[in-house]
Symmetry: C2
Subunit: 402 residues, 2 copies
Amino acid sequence: MIEVINGGNVASAKGFLAGGTFAGLKTQEEGTLDLGILASESPAAVAGTFSTNRIESPSVTLSRQRANSGLARGVVANSGCANCCVGPQGLVDAREITALAADHIGVSPEEMLVCSTGMIGVELPMALVRQNIGNIKLTETGGRDFAKSIMTTDSRPKDIAISVDIDGSKVTMGGAAKGIGMVHPNMATMLCFVATDASVEEGYLREALRAAVDVSFNMIDVDGDQSTNDTVLVLANGASGGRTIEAGTEAASAFQEGLTYVCIALAKELVRDGEGAQRLVEVEVAGAVAVSDARVAAREIASSLLVKAMVHGRDPNWGRIMMALGKSGVELEEPKIDIFINDIHIVHEGVAIPYFKDAVISAMSVPEVRFRVALNMGDASATAWGCDLTEEYVTFNSAYST
Amino acid sequence: MIEVINGGNVASAKGFLAGGTFAGLKTQEEGTLDLGILASESPAAVAGTFSTNRIESPSVTLSRQRANSGLARGVVANSGCANCCVGPQGLVDAREITALAADHIGVSPEEMLVCSTGMIGVELPMALVRQNIGNIKLTETGGRDFAKSIMTTDSRPKDIAISVDIDGSKVTMGGAAKGIGMVHPNMATMLCFVATDASVEEGYLREALRAAVDVSFNMIDVDGDQSTNDTVLVLANGASGGRTIEAGTEAASAFQEGLTYVCIALAKELVRDGEGAQRLVEVEVAGAVAVSDARVAAREIASSLLVKAMVHGRDPNWGRIMMALGKSGVELEEPKIDIFINDIHIVHEGVAIPYFKDAVISAMSVPEVRFRVALNMGDASATAWGCDLTEEYVTFNSAYST
């Protein structure tokens, strides 16, 4: 049903254009893209999920307000500056950057959203934005440049496009995300953009995005810290020509499946490229009494520093998995718990199975380590993703003055 | 009012005896103490706080039950094995070790508590306990040996004794704690013992301990992980001869002050000796609307990996303090926030004050870094302590198979 489009990007869906330029916001190095626009040729339904941090960037504040209208024409994004903790100037600059972008593509400012990522506590260099925003060439193939323009410490751009059959018509969905590393001090982090030519009823689009984010971006952890700028936006412009998708229909489940696929693929990419990360760990908690329990437990395990360190050291320290599980506070009975590491059964009914340690270490010497915890209490399950904790993470994040 | 007793230890109060021995539970190295007893010559009022992890050691389970009676004669403690995640054998062993200790000192098993710390998932080597427990010599000066016998990855024993004047009579309070490092895989961590010759009403003793633990052990963080074996016990045997202390009296406030002093001193020692730690960071959040807000915010800041990494790198990255503060979800208004690093005012009303970076880096090049966050919303404040995150922490905790 879902087909991944080779070489696809965030602007692969019909009626979307994108591009990026060098504006000097992130580095003096000419050619490093740091200002981008993603636009729809016609008004698109829009939905967003935003950081819940109580300190938020005015870029987030403005985009949240405008996303509430349900319709947008596009989004302007910059890297290098988070536009956060700069007093009232932050909202002034957020408004101006959307006005400049809107002017450039010929729409009204209220139809443009804005995302910023980079240093906290410094103002957006608006003079550079004014000088350079006109250089953004919006094309059907410009999605990769857009993905590059939102990178901060990411080692590579992250994008994907898929096609999915909905109600007999082919719908395309493109996505771009930026990561979750904080090499540079004070980085305010994680953005994701999804653009689709499906026609989607606004209220349902919000619902679908919330559901997709819940099992993707809300289930990943690099360092337990939460940015002031996190944003996931989806734009649906209907250019594929299909019927408008509404909640509760068969079309809605196909759309949901596609959107979830894109979000999980990009979320895992963020973790894989996590700061200093060498391994991804997938934690599945099964047999929980409730999905909420499974979610909390999976995230607690994937977020534990000691679990992350054991993944780094390829160390089958299952006691740490037990510790994190217990700390999560979910309904459990110790004598019912089974644990598997990459399908090797190492704990049965709460007690260690004698296993050959070297074999488990071998099994953990892969880029993706899988922990499966069976609570054997009920039918609910959930999956979370984390990365290992490495010396490089510490070095990166403390190496400012040294 | 409070006087620190030079060379004092957990058994400094009248009517307490302590000792430790080598039993081979932790290492084969003869002379390394790993089994200890702290005992009162007469029945003592007892109160405890225990791990809230849903996976708990049967040693915790048994001690919690017995502490509920309000009276105890002492506690037996072992290091090297957490007696956790070993199935029903754990409770059998916990009962036996208290029976052996009770027999050795001539009291009934129900009057003995037990604390275990060390590897999770392996059984207590009871044969070694049976062979060696009789070698423990209980003396008035044996507190230091007891403190040594509970060490795991601690680099030094941690104890203290103070005297405090209560109602005109001099009361002594000794304490010993073990830390919060996890060099060895699966370590189940943090124990603290306080022994006082004050006479304290049992219900009030619980209340006083809870209050002291709330502002000390509950406000420290090394790695955000929570052990399955955490225990704080206080024994009060009344040997000082003073009147029994009850809630709401002047004597109670003097007692509370002393108990809190001992708990904070030992809690800070645990953080200072935290795994791989080079610096302690004290985070004070002031001007909060409620104490609960101040507590949550101070802990969130002290626990943030990115804040810990900036303390390590002596990096005045105040954006990370803002990020952690916002993440805590407490009542705040960004334009009211002031931040100080070691008394240097670096953020005023939510915006950076131009400061000379090298001066702040110098100010952070000390063993104890202080962050003060003024929310300027109300009158409540709280203090938390953390340590820096170092490459050594990661190396220690992943260096099992490598």
